[in-house]
Symmetry: C2
Subunit: 203 residues, 2 copies
DNA sequence: GGCCACCGATGACATTTGTCAGGGGCACCG
DNA sequence: CGGTGCCCCTGACAAATGTCATCGGTGGCC
């Protein structure tokens, strides 16, 4: 039986290296490539055509989900899984929509990770039960596309005028969207709304 | 020569375990304890009295710097070092003030980390050059104590009235402090001011 | 003692924001 | 075809926020 060819993508060398070392102990797993950024992960995947890609959620360049999306299109045979420190409900949803086969927090053990890689390679799927519960209880985003867009532009505390300009909208329209978004989220102002939407992974 | 006794504290099992495995390969290093939270790190340190404590910056309960402060008081012989994913200038300053001997990002290699542990154990110090440059260019916080306090209370987007109540101040006073803080930081409003202060590690 | 920085407050003002009530246009669906 | 939901806008009002001038008190420092 050929070993499972694995691509590791994580921007923290320390963790990536440690992970590679641990997975190397499993004789049915073979780490064929490592990457420290989204674009690098894609390039490595093209070059080495791994069976399974283990992606960190937050990476410079392109995050794990967008890498997974690209991979799905380019290398349908390559299964993807996401490992992350900060698992937010929305991320899980986006990841599953992108065809990711497994989604786990970094609090799992290396042993467990190795098992997950095997599971995914065999065609199985997995999501962390706790994250799944969060995602279900958080539900779908009640925000419309524009509400979410405007909220995102408001994320760094920009004044309404700037948001309006960047979104090519009227200030009044922007305020209406922000107001309705805040109402839907149960927030008193747009800033707490931004925070809540972030926590739920809706932005 | 006795091996260096190391305490590992990081809330991500995956990383902690991987790190422990890697450090175990170095025969002059011995991981005697692991912890997943600030309080647990303290308890472990008391129980096992390590030579060097490797602390993650962000942990549940108490962050790496406060753990380092407590350790310095309780176990003066135990040297502390901080390893983190997100190194902000202010964190570095606070860490050094707390008597931390080394401050490195998680982008270092395991080999490098092992060297750092030896360096620290031998009485040396180390700070990541890039972080040091950031810290120097960021300079000291221009904020007065109250400005920083009020800014912190404003961090989650609370309205002025709530900040005033929580700080036992008048709304006018709060607005004045927020205004001066925003001016000092070159921000247009308090929300971007909060963000800037966070980025520089001044809150 | 005088100087200066910080703390805390007041009052007034301009600006920004939040909120509400609309209206026209468009697309989808029963 | 009518209803519904979203998009985009307007206008107006209330509330929150930012800004400025100013004042008194405190404590450190030369």
């Amino acid at each position: 039986m050929n070993p499972v060819r694995v691509l590791l993508a994580d921007d923290e060398h320390l963790i990536r290296g440690a992970l590679a070392a641990l997975l190397a102990l499993e004789d049915d797993l073979l780490v064929v490539a490592e990457a420290a950024s989204g674009p690098e992960a894609l390039a490595m995947a093209r070059a080495h055509r791994p069976d399974v890609a283990v992606l960190d959620l937050q990476m410079p360049g392109a995050d794990g989900v967008s890498v997974a999306t690209s991979l799905r299109a380019e290398l349908p045979g390559c299964k993807t899984m996401i490992v992350t420190s900060h698992g937010r409900p929305g991320h899980l949803k986006r990841a599953l929509a992108a065809g990711v086969r497994a989604f786990a927090p970094k609090t799992v053990s290396a042993q467990r990770l190795a098992e997950l890689i095997r599971t995914v390679h065999a065609g199985g799927r997995y999501v962390d039960p706790e994250l799944a519960a969060d995602a279900i209880s958080a539900g779908d985003s009640p925000l419309t596309a524009r509400e979410a867009e405007v909220l995102e532009l408001a994320a760094d505390g920009a004044p309404v005028a700037e948001i309006a300009e960047r979104a090519s909208l009227t200030q009044g329209t922007v305020r209406n969207y922000l107001s309705s978004a805040a109402t839907k989220l149960g927030a008193e102002n747009r800033h707490t709304a931004v925070r809540l939407a972030r926590e739920r992974g809706w932005v």
